[in-house]
Symmetry: C3
Subunit: 211 residues, 3 copies
């Protein structure tokens, strides 16, 4: 293993926390918009930030769940949600930052989901599904709780970025790229696809019923 100044695992943990913060913010904003109280906003934040990983772990029978052993998740989400509810007037200044944070989260959650699934010995296609699950199911549950049509199923370069990144991971792995390096490259690929999609407003075609 080569020498890194910061190990890939620590970098991914940092990116993971950035994603968690982005999800907590997105969840709190929608919950406030729906008129939920302080406790309700925190709960929606939690669903948004750790819902996907929870369903991934339950489906993979991986116990105890990641947020039960590492309390940082629950603490970071609660503090983020409370801070946002107190200083909500700063919202307009965090809008662009939120999109970047969210893209970091998409990338980190996908890579973590992929690696967790592979560590449980599932088939590659299931691992890709678990990457998508980790990355988007939190936002799905948030929108379901708030009675909204799920956003992540509409802005399609979201799921697609996660799937392309996961395929890239398997390609690089087959080419013999070392794991820690591969994690970071995959994370970068997903992040840049998402940012480019945001920047140039990319969309996959959505075929509507004629009726």
């Amino acid at each position: 293993m080569p020498n890194y100044i910061v190990s890939p695992d620590i970098l991914i943990y940092i990116f993971d926390m950035i994603g968690v913060i982005a999800c907590a913010i997105a969840g709190t904003l929608l919950a406030q918009h729906k008129g939920f109280d302080i406790a309700g906003c925190i709960l929606v934040s939690m669903a948004n930030a750790i819902g996907g990983g929870t369903i991934r772990d339950v489906v993979l029978n991986r116990h105890p769940l990641f947020w039960m052993t590492d309390l940082n998740y629950v603490i970071v989400i609660t503090i983020t949600s409370l801070a946002l509810q107190i200083f909500f007037h700063l919202y307009h200044k965090i809008d662009t930052a939120l999109k970047l944070f969210d893209a970091v989260g998409l990338a980190a959650f996908s890579v973590i989901g992929l690696k967790v699934a592979l560590s449980q010995g599932v088939a590659p296609v299931i691992a890709i599904l678990m990457a998508v699950c980790t990355a988007i199911v939190g936002g799905l549950v948030r929108d379901i709780i708030c009675n909204e049509i799920p956003l992540v199923l509409q802005k399609e370069i979201y799921i697609t970025a996660s799937v392309i990144g996961s395929c890239f991971y398997f390609l690089l792995d087959a080419l013999g790229v070392q794991t820690g390096m591969n994690d970071l490259i995959t994370l970068g690929v997903i992040f840049f696809i998402r940012v480019l999609a945001l920047r140039f407003d990319w969309h996959l075609p959505s075929i509507r019923l004629v009726k």
Copy 2:
């Protein structure tokens, strides 16, 4: 055990796949109607086709989940959903077929749910609940994701057909009917109740609040 040309297990697997295809079609149609993109439609199809079985297995602590070891499910759903999105203009021709497929699925999913639950050693009433769960929770999750009032809770001969079929299974079992034969008879009973309900527009009374 008597000699069958095709074993009951293989027949039920075929009926299961017909049900999976019906669910994938129903999920894709609603998701398209909601304006979801290609990836979103595939995801809703998966929720519809394997959501009920997933919750049944999680609740029964039966790991790995059925679609993790048999990749046919994920593959069949993805191909069905993609094919439908490409050839969607054929929709009007598949409408009647879809209802029959869906009835096959209701019957196959119920029998599979019942047998899986019994193989885990639960009480009969819980096994009936798991049959209903396998048969309807996928459609429930589809409607929840798409922000619709769940259809399966309204066209009531749906759940009822599953419950009657399950009770029939226990009756025949008590009468000493051999398992493979019993599976097929139960499957037929549920299928015909559902088809008759569709044909003659049967409904259980729904008591509304007076207010």
Copy 3:
């Protein structure tokens, strides 16, 4: 251990069943209002009454689920829901009773959730989360199925009462109060906070977005 006329465990089981009945009634009322059929109403009642405990047990990897070994839950819910659908015209007379039943349920579910989580050896903050999960997720799932904005996230002294009660439990435990007594005191604290909140229409501030 001191001598009780009725043991705290039996008392909590009775309060638990009162809560289950309250949830079954609330679920049936909303499902009827949505025009669901008899089977649909029973299913929503079950989601409401045992949904939170189910997710708690799945998340804590505690199998078999509580309602699989103790069939009283499924039976009590089915009978309650059916009785209400048959004698629905009595609704106006049970409105006040329902609110009290519901408060008993909130208290009993919270205490049970807290103790189950602690028996699995999780951290206190996770145990508090599991108490909230047991108490409110059933109502959340009910509202999600019925396509409504979740009520429990809006009438905030609901979650708050559960959290305050749980904190109280840890405080009394640290002070050396014996477990059975502590359970009953905590249950009483949550019940009275909720009843006072109902009586005096208490609300936590809900900070809305300015835009």
